[in-house]
């Protein structure tokens, strides 16, 4: 049974990001829309189709996933970190909420924001490139798993972080480089060999490629292998966040 405590924390976390829609939903939308306009339309007009898919359409799954990844991470990381900073984390630490309930509420709320940003991005891009999706259920499942993965990492990062700089370290120095390297804007077959090898070592490549397979029906890697990897990463991220939460490290004195 879903407890009132869990539902309350989830509702509070969702309400928190809905209170500032310009910052949490509008800003990422503008950002990804600009990527779409610059890469998809300006450059796309000069590029050939990729695997039979127009370039502007080819980059949509990656742009959707980029919004999902960044916003899932930022929501849980910033919310929990700010609670630590303000001292309001006490409210949940003294409550009878279980560790799983606390983690579940933060992760679900953050994943919801990520999926919402992804959906808005898809709606804007779809207006130009069409709304056809090859395997909608698989696409949604993969996007949700990716959102859960980065929401879990956001919780872990907020527990670890002691400064805002540390909260921003992961998106700036890890997520963004791996996302750009991860095939958002190109097929791995378009890359020179050293970069192609590096791309295949990047876990975000398998996320983007899996979602692209589900949305467009074209992929560089095996879609099943990508799904298995994404599921394993989601489990690892949740396990890490749960372990840290349970240990009380940097939360309970």
């Amino acid at each position: 049974m879903i407890s009132l405590g869990f539902r309350t924390l989830l509702a509070k976390e969702v309400r928190r990001f809905l209170r500032v829609p310009g910052q949490t939903l509008g800003s990422p939308l503008v950002q990804t829309a600009l990527y779409f306009l610059v890469f998809g339309w300006s450059l796309g007009a000069r590029l050939r189709d990729v695997d039979g898919v127009p370039y502007a359409r080819f980059i949509v799954p990656g742009l959707v996933l980029m919004g999902v990844i960044l916003n899932s991470y930022l929501n849980s990381a910033s919310s929990l970190f700010v609670m630590k900073l303000q001292g309001t984390v006490i409210d949940i630490l003294v409550s009878p909420l279980s560790y799983a309930e606390i983690l579940g509420a933060f992760v679900l709320a953050a994943a919801l924001r990520g999926v919402l940003v992804g959906a808005i991005t898809f709606a804007v891009a779809g207006a130009f490139t069409g709304f056809e999706v090859a395997h909608p259920a698989a696409a949604l499942a993969l996007v949700a798993l990716v959102a859960v993965t980065f929401a879990g990492l956001g919780v872990a990062s907020a527990i670890w972080a002691q400064t805002f700089e540390q909260v921003n370290f992961f998106p700036t120095f890890v997520i963004m480089p791996l996302t750009f390297l991860g095939g958002v804007f190109s097929s791995v077959r378009m890359l020179p060999r050293p970069l192609a090898v590096a791309t295949r070592l990047d876990p975000i490549f398998y996320m983007v490629d899996g979602v692209r397979a589900a949305m467009l029906g074209v992929s560089d890697a095996s879609p099943l292998a990508a799904a298995a990897l994404v599921a394993a990463l989601a489990a690892a991220a949740l396990g890490l966040a749960y372990g840290l939460l349970r240990s009380g490290w940097r939360l309970r004195g």
């Binding site: 509070k12 309001t88 009878p96």
Partner: protein, 246 residues
């Protein structure tokens, strides 16, 4: 009045080389007001933080209503309300939302009557729909008290509840603490104001350098102190210990 609701045995808390609590034994009785006194850094906040689940003990055992605070944390935390020393607030939400969320975390649906009572008692009715950001310092402290009481805890911990609070609010908080005691709530408060402990507490405990120096009925302590105030007794006790330590 004699059954302990909180039992602390051999409680030790170390932060690296610093021993914040050096083996504390204490029993809090049901329905009493217990004041924990001590200088800054004596271990008062550490002690109540461990009981409330905000900190973990290095060694020892704490039981609330007969249950272990680590193993049975869900049950023990339902019985406890904590007003922390540091004022905190979430600027995203109103006073009413803050109270409804806090009740929800404890699995309690906050009814309109209970909400209205808490707002009334803590003089926050006019601020019901105000953002916590718009409250004065005293109001924010009252909101913390309301949040701690929202699930009707059997044991209320007040960590320096009247620090930086004006005289009028202090008196009204004292009156409300007495009301809570009359309703059967056990109250444990830490305070620097010895006048506060003398006016409110059934028993006082004095802690210094992580060790309990004294636990006694307030009336009995004052009676055997030859007409001295609690402040004089406290200064004598802590001052003597600090002199020995030097």
């Amino acid at each position: 009045m004699d059954e302990p609701v909180v039992e602390i045995r051999g409680l030790v808390k170390r932060y690296g080389d610093l021993t914040a609590l050096g083996g504390v034994d204490l029993a809090i009785r049901a329905g009493e007001i217990f004041a924990l006194l001590g200088p800054n850094g004596a271990g008062k906040t550490t002690l109540i933080s461990i009981v409330a689940g905000l900190a973990r003990a290095t060694a020892g055992e704490v039981r609330v209503l007969g249950r272990d605070v680590v193993r049975d944390y869900r049950e023990t935390r339902r019985a406890i309300g904590l007003v922390p020393q540091e004022i905190n607030f979430d600027p995203f939400f109103t006073v009413e939302e803050a109270l409804r969320f806090q009740a929800g975390y404890f699995g309690v649906r906050l009814g309109e009557a209970r909400l209205a009572e808490l707002l009334e008692v803590l003089d926050l009715t006019a601020k019901r729909r105000a953002s916590a950001r718009a409250l004065s310092g005293g109001m924010r402290r009252r909101l913390l008290v309301a949040k701690a009481l929202v699930h009707e805890p059997r044991i209320l911990f007040l960590d320096e509840p009247t620090a930086g609070v004006d005289v009028e609010l202090r008196r009204s908080l004292w009156a409300y603490v007495r009301t809570l005691r009359a309703r059967g709530t056990t109250v444990v408060l830490t305070t620097h104001y010895l006048e506060e402990a003398e006016a409110l507490a059934d028993r006082v405990g004095v802690i210094d350098h992580g060790r309990l120096l004294l636990v006694e009925e307030t009336a009995a302590l004052l009676a055997r102190s030859g007409g001295r105030s609690l402040e004089e007794v406290y200064v004598d006790l802590v001052g003597r210990r600090q002199a020995v330590a030097r």
